[in-house]
Amino acid sequence: MIKKLRPIIFLLLGFFVVPTAAPAAELEQMKASLILQWSPQAQFAGYFVAEEKGFYRARGLDLTILPGGPDRIVSDYLATGRADFGSLFLATALERRDAGIPLVNVGQFIHHSSLMLVTRSGDMTEIKDLDGKKVSLWANEFQIQPRLLFEETGIDVKVVFLEQSMDLFLRGAVSATSAMWYNEYHSILSAGLRREELQTFFFKDTPFDFPEDGIYCLETTLQKKPEAAAALIDATREGWQYAFDHPEETLDIVARRMAEANLPVSRAHQRWMLVRMKDVLAVALQQDLGTTLEQKTFEKVVSHLLSQGVIYDPVEYDDFYRGAR
């Protein structure tokens, strides 16, 4: 008990010892960390901007953002306590929960899927044309939807695991590749291909239109830091709004984060991504409860995952979604 109270005592002591050191409006800061599901880029502009503009601090949240990457599995970070919160795709989170990590959703930002398959025009016109072909898919949770789609279409593809670059596809080592609309699709265009030279299949147009980026944490974390979760969602939303209102400043922030991570920065690419994020985040920003995970969508995803054997146990919406309603 004493141990739990210690930070508060320290804070109180601090309050009395140096009463003039902190401004009157300074909130008590809760420490928390967030791991993003991918390397720094405009996909996470809202988080970076919220951090840089002090939107988290303004809500009493001292947030540390941990960059993700192909070799950092968010659910592992959450399960092992290396991070309090994580950004995950819904399907990934459900799969991880089924695997035993008690993840809960505290806010859903992206309600539709930006995942897509890209092939060269002329090669294939329908998904079933991919039968027997090599398709590059990301090595972890991003492959759930494609695998469901291939299974539903009844085709067998040879999966080649995909890392950051689109070179497998660009060099013709694979016939098709998974890509995010806001990211890799533009990378392909930036390697000298025209849109009309590409054939695209969007998962949002299939039965597997799964909501994507949401904020997750362990059940226990939520119990310990419910205000932190709410502040995280709210401040991030403000961060996104600011990012779309100030695209150049935002691109500067994103570029800096990327340079810190030794990542190549293409302003054109990040600009494209930011504009696409504006498209996919429209719902989250416009409505009061835009970050609410829809029950119907949730149940659809759960039933797909169950039927495909991605998860084995049904999940109750109320148990899983713990954000604002």
Binding site: P70, D71, R72, K134, A139, V160, F161, L162, E163, S165, D167, L168, L170, R171, G172, A173, V174, L189, S190, A191, G192, N262, P264, V265, S266, R267, A268, H269, R271, W272
Partner: protein
């Protein structure tokens, strides 16, 4: 030199044409030399590019070969006995351009208990270092350098990447798949990765100098800038994303040409400093990588532009001097023209002695000056002549005027001349023509009751006619007062006139003597117009006697005719100045018109008749000039007695 002056026009014309010609010559020369220089620049940059490509090939080839050879060695060799770390270490340390080398195996292929096996030798701070690639955080099977050769089945050059797990540097790798023979089958066993540091590649490209500020750029197979003088482009942008950011479609197409291995030479603004530049791009012997040279157009064309500029300046300067010289000499040549013009104006204003320039040359201007001088002289003498003639004429005219006055003076002009004589009334008028004419009239009493009146017309005009008129009048009066009959009077006068008449002048005469008591009228005519006799308001011409004019020939006979006038009868004498008066249409007044006028009404006095006829003739003639004297004489016999 005003805008209208000949010199100015000529100078302008010369300058304009010479500038035009100069412009045409320089433009042609410039265009020709420009295309030559550009061709040369293209050729030079090609050579330069091939040099770079060859150099690169000479550096890259050993690296590729070392990778290929190890691949071949690994295929059959008993690898369990080889220390692979030693192999890679040996190869890297013996190849200064090789930055690092890894031999990465498929899971559990090298050792049945090892998921990862990938010894990696590389350079670190000038030393050789060795490590093992692969961990849960670095699953090398999923890296491009591993997957590309595996999936494609052949060696590839990767895109540049930052090797997080190995050398922690920006590298590009030559990745060769290797296989193990298992019986007859070839089983994929892993990838040999030979790295090059991009630093020396960038150094190589950045050291290329073209003209003063030209530069080279290198892009990878995907269009990523490997080297570009704008540092932030390198590894961040592809040529296509840059084109997108700049909205530069041409750049996009160039990028596509470049990664397609095409060579091209075009002119466009450089990305670095937006200067118009030539761009040459050509493929490099590095798996789709491509090299571009950009060099400013103005630096390429500097010499030819300088040459053109100096030619232009020299030419223009020359033409300006040429024009000045031409202007000066033309001005000198035509300077007499100005003086001539001034002199001519003075002459026109009346100063015939205006100073004219002396002819200085034998050219057209000299001839003109001479002609002007002659013209001035002619004008002077002409005017002199004119003055003299005019004075002469004025003198003659004045004399004629005096003669005329004298002539008129000898005619009786007081009416009524004999106020105490009631038997008749008489009126006469003579309207002289412009020149002195030869008409005459006279009347006088021969004795108490014999009243003589006459009219005559001397042939010709002028002074001789006036003289003859005066002589005739004097003769007539002298002869008539001696008591002869009219015919005899005319005979005598004719003889006197004809004598010594070398000029063959003559005179027509009509002479009548009225007996104021009886009204008897005797008359004779020497070829004169028949007078009118008006009786009871009806006029009739007296029948013509067809007798000759007086003064032409001696010894002519003239008859005397008698008639008796009734009271109030009138005799109207006139000269041909009346009936031959002409109007503006050159029609004659005519006998008939005269007769009609006379018959129009009753005239109560000779004065009334004469004034009426004079008015009628004047009206008829209008503004036509009077060519002959108009002389009339009328006598009305009243029949009253004293």
């Amino acid at each position: 030199m005003t805008r209208n002056s000949l010199t100015f026009k000529l100078a302008l014309l010369v300058l304009a044409f010479s500038t035009l010609i100069l412009g045409a010559v320089l433009t042609t020369t410039y265009l020709f030399s420009r295309s030559l220089i550009i061709e040369q620049a293209e050729e030079n940059s090609h050579i330069r590019g091939r040099e770079v490509a060859n150099l690169l090939a000479s550096l890259i080839k050993p690296i590729e070969q070392s990778g290929d050879n190890i691949g071949l060695v690994l295929e059959d060799a008993d690898i369990s006995g080889i220390k692979l770390e030693n192999l890679t270490h040996h190869v890297v340390s013996n190849n200064p351009r090789l930055f690092g080398m890894a031999i990465a195996f498929e899971p559990f292929v090298h050792s049945r208990d090892k998921l990862f096996f990938a010894p990696y030798s590389y350079r670190k701070d000038g030393e050789m270092a060795v490590t093992q690639l692969g961990s849960s955080d670095y699953r090398y099977f999923y890296k491009d350098w591993y997957q590309l050769p595996r999936e494609l089945g052949h060696a590839v050059w990767t895109e540049p990447y930052f090797d997080h797990d190995g050398c922690e540097a920006l590298i590009a790798s030559y990745a060769v798949p290797f296989y193990r023979r298992q019986g007859k089958a070839h089983i994929f066993a892993g990838v040999i990765r030979a790295d090059i540091s991009l630093d020396w590649l960038q150094e190589l490209i950045s050291s290329i100098k073209l003209y003063d500020s030209g530069y080279a750029a290198m892009i990878s197979r995907n269009g990523t800038f490997i080297y570009h003088p704008v540092g932030e482009l390198m590894f961040n942008e592809t040529i296509f994303s840059l084109a997108e950011e700049l909205g530069d479609e041409e750049l996009w197409r160039i990028g596509r040409d470049m990664i397609s291995g095409r060579t091209g030479f075009i002119q466009r603004d450089s990305v670095r400093d937006h200067r118009p530049s030539f761009l040459l791009h050509m493929p490099l012997p590095l798996d789709g990588w491509s090299l571009a040279f950009l060099f400013p157009v103005d630096e390429v064309l500097r010499d030819t532009r300088a040459l053109t500029r100096s030619s232009l300046i020299t030419g223009l300067l020359g033409f300006v001097i040429f024009t000045l010289v031409i202007s000066a000499s033309v001005r000198r040549m035509i300077s007499p023209l100005g003086k001539l013009s001034k002199g001519a104006m003075e002459i026109a204003d009346g100063n015939l002695h205006a100073e004219l320039p002396a002819p200085v040359s034998k050219d057209e201007i000299g001839q003109l000056t001479e002609s002007f001088g002659q013209m001035q002289e002619s004008l002077q003498s002409y005017i002199e002549n004119l003055k003299r003639t005019t004075t002469e004429k004025e003198r003659i005219e004045s004399e004629l005027r005096i003669a005329h006055d004298i002539q008129m003076g000898i005619l009786p002009k007081t009416f009524p001349p004999f106020p105490d004589r009631v038997e008749f009334d008489i009126f006469a008028s003579l309207v002289p023509a412009r020149e002195v004419g030869g008409d005459l009239y006279d009347f006088f009493f021969i004795d108490e009751n014999q009243f003589c009146f006459l009219i005559g017309d001397v042939s010709g005009k002028g002074v001789p006619a006036a003289f003859l008129m005066a002589v005739t009048k004097t003769l007539l009066k002298t002869v008539a007062t001696e008591g002869f009959k009219p015919g005899q009077i005319l005979e005598k006068v004719n003889n006197d006139l004809a004598e010594d008449n070398e000029a063959c002048m003559f005179v027509t005469l009509f002479l009548a003597i009225l007996d104021t008591r009886s009204g008897e009228l005797s008359y004779a005519s020497a070829g004169h117009n028949p007078p009118l006799v008006i009786s009871s308001a009806k006029g009739e011409f007296l029948p013509s006697l067809h007798e000759p004019v007086a003064g032409a020939m001696e010894g002519m006979g003239y008859s005397t005719v008698k008639m008796t006038l009734e009271p109030n009868d009138m005799v109207f004498l006139y000269t041909d100045g009346v009936t031959e008066a002409m109007n503006e249409d050159e029609e004659l007044y005519s006998d008939k018109k005269l007769l009609n006028l006379v018959n129009e009404k009753q005239y109560n006095s000779s004065q009334e008749l004469i004034q009426t006829v004079a008015g009628s003739v004047a009206t008829f003639a209008g503004r036509a000039e009077q060519s002959d004297d108009i002389t009339m004489l009328g006598v009305r016999y009243t029949g009253e007695q004293r």
